[in-house]
Amino acid sequence: MGKSQAVKYAYIVARVRGMKGKLIPKEMYPKFLNMDIPEITRFIGESEYKKDVDELGKKYKGTDLFEHALNQNLALTYRKLIEVSQDEANYIITEYLRYWDIWNIKTILRGKFSGASDDDILEDVVSAGQLRYRDLLEIIKIGTIEGVIAALSKTPYYPALSGYKGVLADIENNLDKMYYGSLIKAGESSQDQFFLKFLRTEIDLKNLKILFRMKRAGMEREEIIKLLIPGGIEFNETQLGKLASLPFPEFVRALEEFSYWKVIADISGELTSLINIETRLDKYGLLNITRISYYYPLSILPVLDYIVSKKMEVDNLRIIVRGKETKLPEEIIKAHLVM
């Protein structure tokens, strides 16, 4: 007798619900804003991050310790999800977490391009994908971009990297398109409609952010189209092409036709900074996955909800600590938080 949908997801969903209960509650973030960095580090050191803070405490200090502990915890948490899941859930989680491989490759290439030190690059590496930390350490030691690309020749990401001709943006676009393309294929092959719906919404939100940034920067239509990722739920390629060709004010007005308008409608008049828009879109993405994960509790959605929520937690903590370190006003830090 084959396993039913409920049985397939019961174990992993119960586990991620348990793990989600251990995330820092959103009421804590305003309190963090009133704390100093040592206080926040102490709080974090007594929470779920204790093991990581203790382990890395000998090697790093201050905000570096914080950064490394967050990254290590994020990587281990995601790796745990891969280890405790089975069959279809395992396949989807593994494919989805390849995001961090793409992230690491981009981080290393950008670091090498800008001449950053190995330690600085390592600070932003999160080994939550299929590339192991030890392999990433070796790759970081390579001095040139070409060398890094050659070291990745046996990975599935090589086809996106092999066309490097001195422009990093091109291979970064290739990587993004390859990642989302293979995710859509994974969703279609597993016939998981919930996953596909979530993924297509994520692609829409990503495209929307790209459009806002590029339109603000006054980029040409052709340049913008190259960056957009096909496969969204509301924005098809024709609509993306149309939006990319409009000037900024008309582009904002054209968004009224789409469901995402309600997310940004009240701040559409004050677009001096895109921070608010991006935070709103991130928040919408988080609320959307949390909401639909309650509609379909025995599916992959609660797992994806946890993955997104955990990333937001780490991002929020990093924003607070980095913001406090650079003495940014509280309002600006608050504007960046997704909660």
Binding site: S4, A6, V7, A10, Y11, I12, V13, A14, R15, R17, G18, M19, G21, K22, V84, L298
Partner: protein
Amino acid sequence: MVDPSVLDPSMVAANAKGMIAIGAGIAVGLCGIGAGMGEQAIGAAAVGAMAEDEKFFGKGLLMTVIPESIAIFGLVVALILLFVF
């Protein structure tokens, strides 16, 4: 011509008893399968929750045995069949 053994009252009573026993067996068996199907998802979820938090053991155990009531219903029906009829 009718086979005289079919109309033998002792044979008829034995057949009826056999049918009741089969009925009781089916009641317990099907209820057991039903309870098992209900328990598999709950059991998996309970183990998952316990892996994250040991305090869930009591609640998890309780949740897991709730579908067991179906098996008890089957047992009751079987006992009624066996001892009332």
